[in-house]
Subunit: 348 residues, 2 copies
């Protein structure tokens, strides 16, 4: 804390912090107990970065996957997780355009860098947008990762068309409940799957046309029934495993199957070739990891903010945690069946 005087910066372009911040980080890959609260140096924004004071950060399954070692080979420890943020810009790199200190933004921080389970995080300004005005930071932090995933998958890649029927798995989940809303906004008929009472209720509230309780009926049978035996033009799997394998049987000829998980399966070509199908691997972390199309995710978030402010898109936050409760949040996500989103309130 010896550099407190730097807090009142003369220029927003001077970024010369040397402060510590509170963060929850891992020093080795492992279980939820690997997450430790610690004092770490504030991050220093690069040329295109915003330094963001974190007000809230969302948790996602990717958090526990990185905690276990996925996508993080070779990175030096400690690693801060947390790949959703809503907060206030406190500094900007030299190359930043359009955003400045004081702006309230939301973004999905890069999976290849330190995340938002901390008081400060750096995000590429091109991948951020002004947060929706009508919701607070906690709700805004629930949106970026899942909204980008659903938007890229359904609108940019599967290119859903008005009138198409789509199956979106786990309608009560983080990606699922936002994907349903996006598909409905684009005029699609939406089938979804859920099982817990809370997820069934959320799926209905998101206006899914058909909510399939997959513990009570086989979703493949129901899809066949709802599609006259033909299968569906678009299926979005956010679950993986057996759900993915069974989804192969839900697709119509020329269909697009989206996986947000990437389940190993030896049945893929056998089923999809004859259908002349397209298999879309949706990994929203690619721009951050490979440094490609940095603006695209910022644009999605700007468009999504408009939808939120128009009352057309709404996140469901099922529980708000403190920084100290992040390990508990990981445990809940690993058990599955979190309805909507878990968000960590960091400030305020």
């Amino acid at each position: 804390m010896f550099a407190e005087l730097l807090k009142d910066m003369e220029s927003p372009y001077v970024v010369s912090y040397n402060l510590n911040m509170r963060a929850v980080a891992i020093s080795e890959f492992g279980g939820p107990e690997a997450l430790k609260s610690q004092e770490l140096p504030e991050p220093v924004p690069g040329e295109h970065d915003l330094l963001v004071e974190v007000h809230a950060c969302g948790l996602n399954p990717i958090d526990f996957k990185v905690r276990r070692g996925a996508l993080a080979k070779g990175r030096s420890m400690p690693i801060i997780l947390g790949f959703d943020v809503s907060g206030v810009v406190r500094g900007v790199g030299k190359g930043v355009k359009g955003l400045r200190p004081g702006d309230e933004i939301y973004a999905a921080p890069s999976l290849a860098r330190n995340g938002a389970n901390a008081e400060f995080v750096c995000v590429d300004a091109r991948m951020a947008a002004l947060k929706p005005k009508k919701i607070d930071h906690v709700e805004a932090a629930a949106l970026p990762l899942v909204t980008i995933t659903a938007w890229e998958a359904l609108l940019q890649r599967a290119k859903i068309q008005s009138g198409e029927t789509v199956l979106i798995h786990a309608g009560g989940g983080g990606v699922g409940h936002v994907a349903i809303q996006i598909a409905k906004l684009h005029g699609c008929r939406v089938l979804t799957t859920a099982s817990s009472p809370a997820s069934l209720e959320l799926s209905r509230r998101m206006r899914a046309d058909v909510v399939i309780n997959y513990r009570e009926e086989d979703f493949v049978d129901r899809v066949k029934q709802e599609s006259g035996g033909r299968g569906l033009p678009v299926v979005m799997d956010t679950v993986g495993g057996e759900t993915f394998n069974k989804s192969l049987d839900c697709l119509a000829p020329d269909g697009r199957l989206i996986t947000c998980v990437g389940t190993p399966s030896d049945k893929i070509p056998q089923k999809l070739f004859r259908l002349c199908a397209t298999l879309i691997f949706e990994f929203m972390g690619a721009p951050g990891i490979y440094g490609i199309r940095p603006e695209s995710q910022g644009r999605i978030l700007a468009d999504a903010a408009k939808l939120v402010d128009d009352g057309k898109l709404k996140p469901r936050v099922s529980r708000v945690l403190s920084l100290d409760e992040i390990a508990e949040g990981h445990r809940l996500l690993e058990e599955g069946h979190v309805t909507g989103k878990l968000v960590v309130r960091v400030k305020g």
Copy 2:
């Protein structure tokens, strides 16, 4: 032959043949020896069909796959193969528009019906087009199946863009040599693989920018080298097996991998998820089998005919066979390394 008198039809809409024709057909699935020359009834065109007098038919790997039993479960014998045709319209169904008796057409007959290894074949008029004027029936019969495959895969689905570098495997093969021409016409830089002297020569003549002799160098290494280590945005695999598995390592982030074969592989999700890739299963037989988008292939063939007549697209026929030599054609295709196309001259 008791109905010869019907040959002079008063109306092109009267289709009431009862003639026999010469055909090469299988009465059971098996090896090339299952192909037998026989007298079979002329096919009767349905509402949307053309009855086509076959002048030439192309052979493709799909022929021996169907001969072995693929895609033909439950069909009654005998089955006539041959899924490329160029010939003359001799009758039309009631629903046919735009084509009439006497027209010279080319088409890819449905895989779900009897094919063109015969004096007559029925094809859905919507899937046919007037044949290119500047080439004869033998050359025209080399085009439909491979042109539709390359066109659907590269233009309609992978949506190749001018300036992109694409890898097209087996540039000396049927699909490959046409795919190279289509990609070049769209301003792409084309890498291809080949090994026999004839295929290397054909790949070069098709103006591939880089022809990789895959027996002399590893194509993955070469792709990495040609792409600055990044991989390529589009890879088209027409070969399958190990070529497919290695193609997974040739793709850049956001890349599109096309398979025309559908190789079983347990490596697909592991490699493609992180790349945020799209896997396109290109099966040109889908419209014929499922009765979907019947007009799309006719439009492709009409557009391709213009390219041929403008001297921009040219098939390579490496050998012309007679109906009696179809089994020999199958053997050559099963051994691999046919350069360009094998075509059967049926009339003239």
